[in-house]
Amino acid sequence: MSTLLDVEDLRVTYPTRTGVIEAVRGVSFQLGRERLGIVGESGSGKSQTGRAIMGLTPPQAQVSAKKLAFDGIDLMAASPRERRALRGNRIAMILQDPKYSLDPVMSIGRQIVETLRAHERVSKAEARERALAMLEAVQIRDPARVFDLHPHEVSGGMGQRAMIAMMLIAGPELMIADEPTSALDVTVQLDVLKILDKLVAERGMGLIFISHDLRLVSSFCDRVIVMYAGKVVEQIKASELRNAQHPYTLGLLDCMPRIDADRHPLPVLDRKPEWAA
């Protein structure tokens, strides 16, 4: 399997008045055209890892890595211009909540077309055709109607499909999905996941799926990275999750209610300072 993304010793720090906050502390992994899940609690650094790969950390953040390469391109050495050319074109990102991540005053169709026209020279008519085809690919039944709607006029599930369409239209090879279903209704979550799964498989893309839901990730991904306090504590194949070693992973697995057993009181997640060391 060829390596699409190579991350070695990635660090993201934020200097503040009261000292340096280390959001990501030496994360390393490799990714081919597969589905990798990154799991952790709030503040574990999983989202920051995704944003650092995209080059979308805020200006005050300091990103360093021994190696951060996408398809042989050294991202640490790339100019802002080169990284922008990659974004949306070869590496794309799905954000959490379509209510906030879609521009409220621009029609959905124009937002999709915008991605395409940022990277390819296409005519207006062709861009529209391809956007409509993309809307159809994310299983929106009436693409021509949805094309002209504004974000507030569609449901959360529909909005997230539009988001996927917007990020996939330029044909990226790597997709970073940052909690793509956390803001959606449970009933819609599976639909959106299926669409994402299908498109990723069809197009042979690499996927980084960031979530706090270990079970969801393990059912959806090939491999899982568990993060705690900015570090990777365990890296494991999803199919072998029940053989996980690290007490934190076991804790994450164990703190869920089960439908067939009385689990009262639920065990609380253990957090030991030595794991963060």
Partner: protein, 355 residues
């Protein structure tokens, strides 16, 4: 397209038309209510202030019989509610009585002075918005930088320096010393007899009649007071733009726009400012309305024969018809600007479209 589809489309179309009509109806209802409220307030102010309109006309040495007769002629012996009815009726037909000071009908006076104010305020607002909005955007994008500090200082000075003082300084420098602009007035005396205004907006009138020498002269007269008012609205507009832009730039859709690989230019001007423009409409409209009523000081310093100067003079001479008439006209324009900005708001923000 099938028949059913066609019917559905037609249904959507007529439903939309109904929605638009009901929105317009609501607008008119709001306008009429506000206008009646304005009339009521001005009427009662006119009644409770300790100025006797009869004495204002006749002076305090008139015989009692004459005073009584004039009081009847002016309708002041009628019940209050009837007086209000007459007041509303004449105000709606544009009749605000006669000015004691100028002996003209108040409406004729206002028609003469109001365009002067409107022209000045419009030019001032255009200057303020055209410079203020980009400055505010720049300050927000380069937050904490040198440019940001400069913009904030410019804004602070605009907020805190008295306008008449700055106006006088401007006259000393640009008129007396450098002679770049003309003296305080609307036109040179030479043109007073060769130029007949149509709309009362001198720049527009001169351009329409092709009298470019008049246009140039009017421009030399208006540019300093307009720049001054423009500076004051710039101070306000740039600060508000900055804070609206800072707010928009932290939104998630900006991250999404970056993730799409858009250029910074497109993100700032196409997404962030497009969203910030929605509240900016209200800010600019309010600052425009503020210039219409509040440029008395500027009009005084620049001998600008506008409505601010007119009302102030009338007030000092207890000329209540003129004061109330001027107040009503300014109030009406205020209402109109507010309604217009509400309409624009709906155009800019699809979330507020008629439902």
């Amino acid at each position: 397209m099938s028949v059913a589809d066609n019917q559905a489309a037609a249904g959507r179309g007529s439903a939309q038309a109904v929605a638009v009509l009901s929105a317009i109806g609501r607008f008119l209802a709001i306008a009429v209510t506000t206008y009646l409220g304005l009339l009521a307030v001005t009427f009662f102010i006119g009644r409770v202030i300790p100025i006797d309109p009869v004495l204002a006309v006749l002076g305090d040495r008139a015989p009692t019989a004459v005073v009584e007769r004039t009081r009847r002629e002016m309708g002041l012996d009628l019940p209050l509610i009837e007086q209000f009815y007459i007041y509303v009726k004449s105000a709606l037909s544009g009749d605000f009585g006669t000015s004691v000071l100028t002996t003209n009908p108040v409406m004729a006076d206002i028609r003469r002075v109001f365009p002067a104010t409107l022209e000045l305020a419009t030019l001032g607002t255009i200057i303020g918005a055209v410079i203020g909005v980009p400055l505010g955007v720049l300050a927000a994008v380069k937050r904490g930088s040198f440019i940001d500090q400069i913009v904030r200082i410019i804004g602070l000075i605009g907020y805190s320096v008295p306008i008449f003082w700055l106006g006088l300084l401007g006259l000393v420098l640009f008129y007396a010393k450098l002679q770049w602009v003309a003296f305080p007035a609307r036109l040179d005396v030479v043109y007073e007899y060769t130029f007949t205004p149509i709309t009362g907006f001198y720049l527009l009138d001169a351009a329409m009649q092709g009298q470019w020498d008049v246009f140039y002269d009017a421009f030399r007269h208006i540019i300093l007071p307009a720049a001054l008012l423009g500076y004051f609205s710039l101070a306000y507009i740039s600060r508000m733009t900055r804070s609206f832009m800072l707010n928009e730039l932290t939104q998630e859709y900006i991250v999404a726009a970056r993730a799409k690989g858009l250029s910074e230019t497109r993100i700032i001007w196409g997404h962030a400012l497009r969203n910030a423009a929605v509240p900016m409409v209200t800010v600019i409209a309010l600052s425009y309305a503020g210039l219409l009523e509040g440029s008395v000081l500027t009009e005084t310093v620049f001998s600008w024969p506008g409505i601010g100067l007119y009302i102030t003079n009338s007030l000092q001479n207890a000329d209540m018809n003129a004061v109330l008439g001027g107040t009503i006209v300014i109030g009406s324009v205020f209402i109109a600007i507010n309604l217009f900005s509400d309409l624009l708001y709906r155009v800019l923000d699809p979330r507020t479209k008629a439902r």
